[in-house]
Symmetry: C2
Subunit: 331 residues, 2 copies
């Protein structure tokens, strides 16, 4: 069926994950939970763009080590990021010489990679797979908005692109954290064209995916310990709640967002919260994976949202299309 939930009867396992973050993420409320950080936004490299590649490289290496997996055993890497032509991933993972599937899903990349790789592991087409995603505040700002040197003021609806890279290793067995079913997102466009309000642009895609999931699965939001969106931020999460409530879906009990968790709204100047491919990658790897392991979370929905515009398309007057992929994970 078009737009149907895809059940994974062999329940592929997430056997390890790792993430590397920037300084703002390190000083945030989850700072101690990440595997590595650098107070230098360039991570020792010449440019912010190369710094993002270096984060991807380190996260990939840490995830292999934590899972006791050799690079030679990786059947494929699914990776993507926000940089033009996704070069952060390409250069970052080049040293490892693994079969490589490049994705573009904007900030939905982690979920897109988990959806694809879990289907292929479930069907035994691939054995052990890595999913990597990253973003970098400075690289994203100059590419999508203004170079930081301009000192532009950001409006309250703007989110801060998270400086982080995360890698997840999936396999057919070897751990308790399993992916049970997935739902592929559809492109939605509600006419938002404000580059400083990604939450409003992405919330309709999140609502579309979530409403399809609950309608088809016959489940209720209360059946899950947590429904976690990727990076809707304070603006987008409110819109998602309203959109779903209008369709009879009450998310008030257990909805949260990686973009709200990664920074302290009261102590950090991050406006509407975190965003970027690295946001869900870092929060999932650093925080949620630990809670799935220690069983304080047992049954969650992860839904990463992506805003799929380009700087050129915005200058040409196009609105912002978005997408949301969903992954059902059990601890």
């Amino acid at each position: 069926m078009n737009g149907g939930i895809i059940h994974l009867y062999n329940e592929p396992r997430i056997i390890s994950s790792a993430c590397v973050v920037g300084n703002e993420e390190h000083i945030g409320p989850l700072g101690d939970l990440f595997d590595g950080y650098s107070s230098d936004p360039r991570f020792g490299m010449k440019t912010w763009e190369s710094a993002e590649s270096e984060m991807q490289r380190r996260a990939f290496l840490y995830a292999l080590k934590k899972g006791s997996v050799k690079c030679e055993d990786i059947s494929a890497v699914f990776a993507g990021d926000l940089q033009n032509q996704c070069v952060a991933s390409t250069y970052g993972l080049l040293p490892y010489n693994a079969p490589y599937i490049g994705l573009y899903g904007a900030c939905s990349t982690l979920a897109e990679g988990l959806v694809l790789s879990s289907m292929l592991i479930d069907s035994k087409k691939l054995c052990t797979v890595a999913v990597s995603a990253s973003s970098h505040f400075c690289a994203a700002e100059r590419q999508f908005r203004f170079p930081l040197e301009y000192g532009s003021q950001r409006p309250p609806t703007a989110q801060r692109t998270v400086t982080a890279a995360g890698t997840f290793i999936l396999s057919q067995s070897g751990a308790d954290i399993r992916i049970c079913d997935v739902l592929i997102g559809r492109i939605c466009d509600s006419g938002i064209s404000d580059i400083s309000n990604m939450g409003a642009a992405m919330a309709p895609a999140a609502a579309d995916t979530l409403c399809r999931y609950f309608a088809q699965s016959q489940k209720r939001p209360s059946d899950f310990d947590l429904i976690l969106t990727g990076d809707l931020g304070y603006e987008g999460i409110k819109i998602l709640k309203d959109l779903c409530f209008a369709k009879g879906l009450d998310l008030s009990g257990n909805l949260n967002d990686c973009g709200l968790l990664i920074y302290s709204a009261s102590e950090q100047d991050v406006h509407a919260g975190g965003s970027g491919c690295g946001c869900s990658a870092a929060v999932m790897s650093g925080y949620i994976m630990k809670r799935l392991k220690d069983k304080t979370l047992k049954n969650i929905l992860l839904m990463c949202t992506g805003a799929m515009m380009s700087p050129t398309s915005l200058l040409q007057g196009q609105s912002i299309p978005s997408i949301a992929h969903l992954v059902h994970i059990r601890g």
Copy 2:
């Protein structure tokens, strides 16, 4: 095994395909074989970028019609292009509301999409799938090199980005053209940094994939009617032959390249041949699919190559990483 051939025992079928091209492609040697064209490089739209989306939209629609497939029956669309953040695909396929998987594989996108979708159809995770890819000469030139208005001279090693979009519909049955096995590419970087010599940058990736394929399959090049690369052009195809010959693989008998087939070298001013995601999509859909149907080709390898740099990465002094995905197709 890392980097192993993936066999598709149920042999997913390509049930239809369609492509839409620009004027230069229409006046080329394969011009009569394409499903649609426009002598207006804007395809009636305001910008070249939107024109590329319009090509994607039309190719998708034609492919559905030719395969007698309803849009509601498409389980997922796998799509990508060369524009920043792959917006040609996003905006082009937005009207169809299908589950959407965004890819970034540069000019390897068609093969990347065929690899992923055929694995998922073979394992019955998805039923009917569309794979779409596109490129536009004018949009690509101004994004990667110089705006056309500058009138820059292109060196002999430069290729012309093909203005074309193609869509392939795959399903579990319903046609004779089948995908037997696939091989996922690995990122290669031989240090080439000349933005006007994509052939040289991509040939090492093509050699890596092809040598792995023949080493593992125990087959010889002469076992195939055609080994078809996506867009190596005159420069890249020579380098590929040399690289493979040095590894004991003689490709002189049946190697060809979509970038050589789409234009007439003697009558069209296209330097080293065609390139771009649309190059392999158009030649495969317009020409090769017909020859597979009329049995003048029965057993081919399609290997699309992609150069994965960004304009920013080149300005920052990075060399051009590349990749090549392989698909074994039987008529």
